[in-house]
Amino acid sequence: MDMKVAKKKLGLKEKYRTMTRDLGWEPSYHSKEALFPYVGYEGIKIHDWDKWEDPFRLTMDAYWKYQAEKERKFYAIIDAHAQNNGHLNLTDARYLSALKIFLQAISPAEYAAHRGFARVGREFPGVGPQVACQMQAIDEIRHAQTQIHAMSNYNRYYNGFHAFADQRDRIWYTSVARSFFDDSMSAGPFEFMIAIGFSFEYVLTNLLFVPFMSGAAYNGDMATVTFGFSAQSDEARHMTLGLEVIKFILEQDPDNLPIVQAWIDKWFWRGFRVLGLVSTMMDYMLPKRVMSWREAWEIYGVENGGALFKDLARYGIKPPKDWDAAAKSIDHMSHQFMLGLYQWSFGTAFHAWIPSDDDMRWLSAKYPDSFDTYYRPRWEHIKKMAAAGTPFKNYGLAKLCQTCQLPCVFTEPDDPTLTCHRETVYKEHKYHFCSDGCQHVFENEPEKYIQAWLPMPQLFQDPVNGDLGEWMKWVSLLDGKDNGDYASSEDKQNFEAWRGLATTNQ
């Protein structure tokens, strides 16, 4: 009689070798150069792809198992949220503006990241990075899908959620995130990895997901906490990949250092700008705030970024060139953005509002060096205008930065009372920037950025030709519903009425 012999379970390292490295092969009827045509032109020199380490040693079988578990947990909560009128547990419907921005700008960025990682997973010759990038590509599309699915529950009740795909393509503020990913995807595979894998994932995404999702928990939004933490659980793996990539490239050849440093300089600044709006979500849009943007920057920027660049110093890597300019803007950016969003709220598919007296007390406590001196006087004046029945609307469309595509709301690094004006002429054509950082990025690759589709100048070209009503139709913005001040919005009325019904017997 045959005895069943229990197979010896593979150890982690052995399993990783068998199920990842052993999947690779040497091509026999095509040259390696023909199979991987994009891996050389950026100037990065790789001598031995087998030196690539995946510290988690995650293999595809384990990947599917744990991802399935994450999905089950996610849908259990999403179902409970939908079945129990979870939307009425929010602290306040003002909170939804942060979600609308997330849906219109960040979820499509997850999809863009999916495409980018699918591409570089094909373009790298090493089997280690191929598998890691493939997993990340699947993660990113999962993030886009779970986010859209979670937020679709709010679309049944509230405005501004109904046309995120049109708005991803056409509304002005989403071009910031879209152009950021287009920039990275149209670069070579190594630059993409430093841009997204390292600079964005490792250095910056903690600032987006961790305090923001904790904030969602504080504000009663279980749906967002769930997709946020579910996505973030993949992020730890992505960050580790980002750190491995940079170590691998730097250890392969000393000639790689200046190329990598230039990418870090560029992509730190691009990422800092694209995530800037998170400062406003944290300081203004969460009715109950978990920490200020300044506090989040101290933890995840100064402390964590500081430790990272101290560690990378052994390779000769320096902190990003514009790190100090970023640090100087921390006390100002959330206020500068929110003032802009309020005065341009006729053109946004989310609501803005004037901070209450209570909010302003919190802001002056959190920003003792800036709020009362520079920003309170403007808010007080805006409050007076609203009280007089002439709420402030700024119909002068905004000058946008050619590189980051944000409105030029930023001030001189050392003078918060003066707008930062930067311009350059390239091939007899004039270009404007919000900062020295963005000007430098442009000047390093002008042919790339002169193609920028800047939504404000586009408004005066075909097909809209300067007609604001036509523009609203074109971007699927429902005037009087999706846009304007929260104080007079349907979202506010409905939320208060439904919450009243839920908590009384009237």
């Binding site: 005065q343 700024n394 905004a398 004006h421 042919e447 100048p457």
Partner: protein
Amino acid sequence: MPVVAIKEYTATPRDRVENFNGKQIVYASWDRHLLFAAPFLLCLPPETPFGELVKGPLSMLVQPDPDAAAIDWTAVEWLKSNQPWTPDFNASLAANGIGHKDQLRFRTPGLNSLAPAA
């Protein structure tokens, strides 16, 4: 620097003046008056007299600032492309040398209701 690419990389600017149906872009901003979150983007025919740009769209846009009524347009200091500059109010934008996407700035020393005293 050229874009690092697999072959020669050249492109066409997206915001060429030909795309604006006979008009051009002019940016204008009021220094140290940050109630307006960013410089204004105006789209005008190059034949527009400079005085009309000031009396028309620019004066209207700056109304919400408490200093707006006190602006003496004959005394403001102008900058074009960040350099001191004197406009001719009767001449057109083109005759004033204001090109497509030029940035105009103006200063009104002494008017600073919403800014901290310097």
